[in-house]
């Protein structure tokens, strides 16, 4: 479809979005290194799982990347050209969701591969063996990649809803850093585990939030998919009728 081709071309003709994505693997390397350097016991399988789960942390980066899809176009004024080329705005949003989702998923796979590689490197350096046979290992890596995909899609929806790039980024980061934690405490552990960050931790098989309860991994996947769909739908509907001035 021509819209998909042009959305993809928008990405390949710019450097900035790729520089944003590159931060993901860097965070993974830094995170795993920090975990080991701060005294993590490499012989403990739980620590191995925690190291590999850094792939999911990179999802913060794909969230920012997703926000660029629509909010970035409003920022630079190219949204006008986009809606002139394709007046069916719902299709524009759908195409962006697809393209940014695919690239976000790819970034997730890269972050997972990097997580595996850096963990293997550190484990070897410390004279420990990496337990690849454990089912946990591949579930963690897959969950991490999936979280990257989900957050990229959520980012597109968030950017389409808020339109102002700075506000969308601030909202996303504030939610992750602060607001969801407070919301979680207000809602209690039963409901808190349904919140997006909690759900993504379930998907990544990690628990940096220190939550009392988390969904099972598949539950986290479904919850995040629900958030992605909800954001996408609201974004499409609000974009359809808005004036572009």
């Amino acid at each position: 479809m021509v819209i998909l081709r042009s959305e993809f071309r928008k990405l390949t003709t710019l450097r900035a979005p790729w520089l944003v994505l590159a931060a993901g693997p860097l965070i993974v390397v830094a995170g795993v290194t920090g975990l080991v350097e701060s005294g993590g016991n490499v012989r403990n399988p739980a620590v191995q799982a925690q190291a590999l789960a850094h792939a999911g942390l990179a999802a913060i980066i794909t969230l920012l990347f997703g926000i660029l899809a629509v909010a970035g176009e409003y920022r630079h004024g190219t949204i006008t050209d986009t809606f002139l080329s394709v007046p069916a705005r719902g299709r524009v949003i759908a195409a962006k969701l697809a393209v940014y989702g695919v690239v976000g998923a790819g970034a997730g796979l890269v972050s997972s591969a990097v997580a595996l590689a850096i963990t293997a490197a550190w484990w070897a350096a410390k004279g420990a063996t990496l337990h690849l046979a454990a089912g946990d290992t591949w579930l963690t890596l897959a969950g991490g990649a999936a979280a990257n995909l989900a957050f990229a899609v959520i980012g597109v929806g968030l950017g389409a809803l808020i339109r102002n790039q700075v506000a969308a980024v601030a909202a996303g980061l504030a939610w992750i850093a602060l607001i969801e934690g407070i919301a979680g405490q207000l809602l209690g552990p039963g409901l808190a585990r349904l919140l997006p960050l909690h759900a993504s931790e379930a998907l990544d098989r990690t628990n940096i939030l220190g939550a009392g309860r988390l969904l099972p991994q598949w539950g986290g996947a479904i919850a995040l998919a629900g958030y992605a769909a909800a954001f996408a739908a609201v974004a499409a509907v609000t974009t359809l009728r808005r004036d572009v001035t």
Partner: protein
């Protein structure tokens, strides 16, 4: 391909930007869309392009609204003041993105870049472009699909005298090919040299729509008529 505006009214909250405006810009002519700042020219163009939703009435292209066009960029070419350019993108790539949705080959991109005189600067990023170069790029985008209708908002903005003369020749040539060319502008002297037809708006209302010659044949005729028509408060 004609632009037909039919009873167009647009309110943004409490502000009425356009009030019951009707006119037709004929094919094969250059129509000057004139009016003071805030008169509703840009809103009218945006309504025609489907960017803003009319409160009442419509603006149709060849009888149908913009959203109904099968191949928008091959039917209408637009240059708006707010049509933005991503500073990190190369000029040629900016057009290639538009060409992709319109199903046009890269060869066509190079053709229009040549036509507007940006062939040499094509592979530079827009960040380093002067206002005149950005305008030329915007014109290239409008011309890309060889559209039957051109809606241009202040196209001469930032162009040097040679550029203004070149643009005048280009617009007359396009009209001569049977296309409908609509130019919104403040430059009355330039419009009186280029346009066949004028539409004058003021305070969101239509003050005049008709052949330029109807306003008088002397050099200052357009300016006098314009100032008279747009002076009185509604």
């Amino acid at each position: 391909m004609e632009l037909e505006v039919l009873g167009l009214t647009k309110k943004f909250g409490a502000v009425t930007a356009v009030s019951d405006v009707s006119f037709t810009a004929p094919a094969g002519k250059v129509t000057g869309l004139l009016g003071p700042n805030g008169s509703g020219k840009t809103t009218t163009l945006r309504a025609a392009l489907g960017l803003v939703r009319p409160t009442v009435g419509s603006a149709l292209i060849g009888g149908i609204p913009y959203q109904g066009l099968a191949r928008p960029r091959r039917t209408v070419g637009a240059l708006l003041e707010a049509t933005g350019l991503h500073p990190g993108r190369r000029a040629r790539d900016h057009l290639r993105v538009l060409a992709a949705t319109a199903g046009l080959p890269d060869r066509r991109v190079d053709e229009v870049l040549d036509q507007v005189g940006l062939a040499e600067a094509a592979r530079r990023t827009v960040r380093g472009f002067s206002l005149g170069m950005r305008q030329r790029l915007g014109l290239a985008a409008a011309l890309l699909g060889e559209p039957g209708l051109l809606l241009l908002d202040e196209p001469a903005n930032g162009l040097d005298p040679a550029g203004v003369a070149w643009l005048r020749g280009l617009l007359r040539e396009l009209a001569g090919q049977g296309r409908c060319v609509v130019v919104a502008s403040h430059g009355l002297a330039e419009v009186s040299q280029t346009a066949d037809h004028v539409v004058i708006l003021s305070g969101g209302r239509l003050r005049f729509a008709g052949p330029l010659l109807e306003l008088g044949t002397s050099g200052g005729a357009l300016e006098s008529a314009f100032l008279k028509l747009t002076a009185a408060p509604t």
